[in-house]
């Protein structure tokens, strides 16, 4: 009998091209490499300088997402520097034979949205991208992680990466009946996990999310959780594939068909952590106690249930954390002790690789239906991909958003990181379904509260941080 192994160990083991000797890392094969305009130009340059080619263009796919404008997309990109970066990607893809989904293409979108929707992300694969939110793809039972530009070049040249095995951590999310309370979403689950283990808690680990709550989540909701594994410091987050996973993949463009499907399915069914396998760490989350969660500070670990008050740094025992909290409140312009529900926002952003999928837009639209934005609030709804956009329009969601007074945009990363014109002005405050509330993340001097799509929509209606139950 072989030793009991975790899901992460199984996926790792099947990709070892060469086992490292002594202190040497393993050489790991990469099944899918996603490329975008921001972290790739220097990598392609490196290939050119060394006279190297892309080893497996057929395992590589590129799109334009970080820089692209989300309105007037039929016009040339106004910002010349952004335009150069996008044009550089186009030239590099043409020169090296990499398929690219450019702006205005029906398959264009955020890398982490288009991989799954094309059926390219499948269980048991290794998936990398020069973007830390590559962890998203772990929702399919893939080992998926972000890499830097030197590693992008390395994968382009060799289709492998030298890596030391990650440690494993089980995150057990359970409730009495396996469901979440009304108004609570997978975003709240992951924000609560990050608040519990901290932004460094997952460092060196791959997290495996398990438990009856995870079992009952849709693929979209699972992707939201795995997406933010990096915000807990982890390289990757994974969920074992099950019927929900298979149903999501079946029939997609790049999904296996016929006999290949049967062979793939038989393989995927082995991708579970074995009974008795040991994790290096375990964390339990009691989902019955979870309520809508929001961040108050400037790192994703600084979050609390919406019903609570802005914390008082003086009560934080750890000196570094106390100083960080003081700095955060100063930057965020918040007073210790004020109810989070009283925090007034100017901007609401629904979108990003965290919450830019169709289910997220449906949830936000349901809250907004028949209501309108509070005075002085602007709301941007940015679908994660062109396909999500078309589907939302087929379902009439765009009408719900625009009727409420929100702006309906084209696909891209948009205000999640403000590389395009979608930014907060200094001092502006957002409720945002994205993943990072860092200082200046959404625009210089901007202040970000991370929330779920339903909290974002309710906040847009009331003008202060709110959950849907506050609207009745």
């Amino acid at each position: 009998m072989t030793e009991a192994r975790t899901l992460a160990e199984k996926v790792w083991d099947r990709h070892v091209v060469r086992k490292g000797e002594g202190q040497e890392p393993d050489l790991l094969y990469i099944d899918l490499h996603l490329v975008h305009e921001v972290t790739s130009p220097q990598a392609f340059d490196g290939l050119r300088l060394a006279g190297r080619r892309v080893r497996r263009p057929d395992l590589t796919i590129a799109t334009e997402d970080h820089n692209v404008p989300t309105k007037d997309v039929e016009l040339p990109i106004a910002d010349p520097v952004s335009r150069t970066q996008v044009e550089t990607l186009r030239r590099n893809c043409a020169e090296f034979g990499v398929d690219l989904y450019p702006m205005n293409h029906a398959e264009q979108g955020i890398v982490h949205i288009i991989g799954p929707q094309l059926g390219l992300t499948q269980p048991g694969m290794t998936v990398v991208c020069g973007d830390s939110h590559t962890s998203t793809h772990g929702a399919f039972g893939a080992m998926a992680f972000g890499i830097g530009t030197s590693e992008v070049e390395h994968v382009l040249a060799t289709q492998t990466l030298p890596l030391k095995p990650f440690k494993t951590m089980a995150i057990n999310v359970n409730s009495a009946d396996g469901t979440l309370r009304p108004g609570v979403t997978s975003k709240d689950v992951v924000l609560a996990i990050i608040a519990k283990i901290g932004t460094g808690g997952g460092q060196g680990y791959v997290l495996e999310y398990r438990g009856n709550v995870i079992d009952n989540l849709s693929m979209e909701a699972r992707m939201t959780i795995c997406n933010m594994s990096i915000e807990a410091g982890a390289r990757a987050g994974m969920i074992a594939p099950d019927q929900v996973t298979y149903d999501f993949i079946a029939g997609r463009d790049h999904a296996p068909k016929g006999e290949a499907w049967d062979a793939a399915l038989a393989d995927w069914q082995t991708l579970r952590t074995d009974e008795g396998a040991l994790f290096d760490a375990e964390v339990d989350i009691d989902a019955d106690t979870l309520t809508p969660f929001v961040t108050w500070g400037t790192n994703p670990g600084q979050g609390l249930p919406l019903g609570e008050n802005v914390p008082d740094p003086a009560t934080i025992p750890d000196e570094n954390e106390r100083i960080a909290a003081e700095r955060a409140l100063d930057y965020m312009g918040l007073e210790a002790g004020m109810p989070l529900r009283d925090v007034r926002v100017d901007t609401v952003f629904v979108g990003s690789c965290t919450n830019g999928r169709i289910e997220d837009l449906r949830a936000a639209a349901k809250v907004l239906d028949g209501r309108s934005l509070a005075k002085g609030v602007r709301m941007l709804v940015v679908p994660g991909s062109m396909r999500v956009r078309f589907q939302a329009e087929d379902e009439g969601l765009d009408k719900v958003f625009t009727a409420a007074g929100a702006e309906w945009r084209s696909a891209g990363c948009s205000m999640c990181l403000g590389m395009n014109p979608d930014q907060l002005a200094p001092g502006e405050r957002s409720a945002s379904t994205s993943n990072r509330n860092f200082e200046g993340r959404q625009g210089k001097g901007g202040r970000t509260h991370l929330v779920s799509p339903v909290v974002a929509a309710a906040t847009a209606v009331r003008g202060t941080l709110s959950s849907p139950e506050d609207l009745d």
Binding site: Q23, D31, T60, I147, P162, G200, A264, N299, R436, E439
Partner: protein, 198 residues
């Protein structure tokens, strides 16, 4: 990559934790397609404040950054490493690093030296009471030395070896090219390819 063995330079105490890569270099500076010239983006928001440590002498000439825990968390942008190095930093000391940042540092030749937090505190005190103190980082011995203070740091053996030798990862991997080809021949046929499906 230039081999790294020891480095001596002015230590800069940065008493901040969770210095994410968005703080090290904001996204707006990532639009360039070159590999150099990112020094103006380093800590761009913070450098607008006159009292920020890199705006004060002698710290503006520093090359060893001593930061709080969880340095380099967040975005995978390798530009964070390039910005630190373009500015003149050769070593960052912290009690904990973001994983991707640590990996990126090793690729670019920046030493991410992991010290115990109490040792970081001792370095902070020394650098604050005697500004301009030079810090020597010895990669071979894995020590940080400033005045009478010597503390140990951690860095894994493989990264240390690569930095000491100044080796290029792609060159190392391509020595195993036959292993890669052999692996490719036994990959299951149902795994997807990216070429358009229709």
């Amino acid at each position: 990559m230039e081999p790294f063995s020891t480095h001596t330079g002015i230590g800069v105490p940065l008493r901040r934790s969770n210095v994410d890569t968005d703080q090290i270099i904001p996204a707006v500076y990532l639009k360039r397609v070159t590999r150099t010239g990112f020094d103006d983006g380093l800590f761009a928001a913070w450098r607008q404040h006159e009292d920020f440590i890199l705006n004060t002498e002698p710290f503006s000439r520093g090359s060893v950054l001593v930061a709080g825990p969880d340095f380099g968390t967040g975005s995978s942008r390798e530009h964070a490493v390039w910005a630190l190095m373009d500015y003149g930093f050769r070593v960052v000391i912290s009690s904990r690093f973001g994983d991707i940042f640590r990996g990126n540092s090793a690729k670019g030749g920046l030493v991410a030296a992991q010290c115990e937090q109490p040792d970081v505190e001792l370095l902070w005190k020394l650098l604050e009471t005697e500004p301009g103190t030079e810090v020597t980082v010895d990669l071979r011995e894995r020590t940080v030395q400033a005045k009478d203070l010597t503390v140990a740091f951690q860095i894994d053996d493989y990264t240390r070896w690569r930095l000491l030798e100044g080796l290029d990862d792609i060159g190392l991997t391509l020595r195993h090219e036959p292993d890669i080809t052999a692996y490719e021949q036994v990959r299951p046929g149902w795994l997807p390819v990216t070429t358009p499906a229709h």
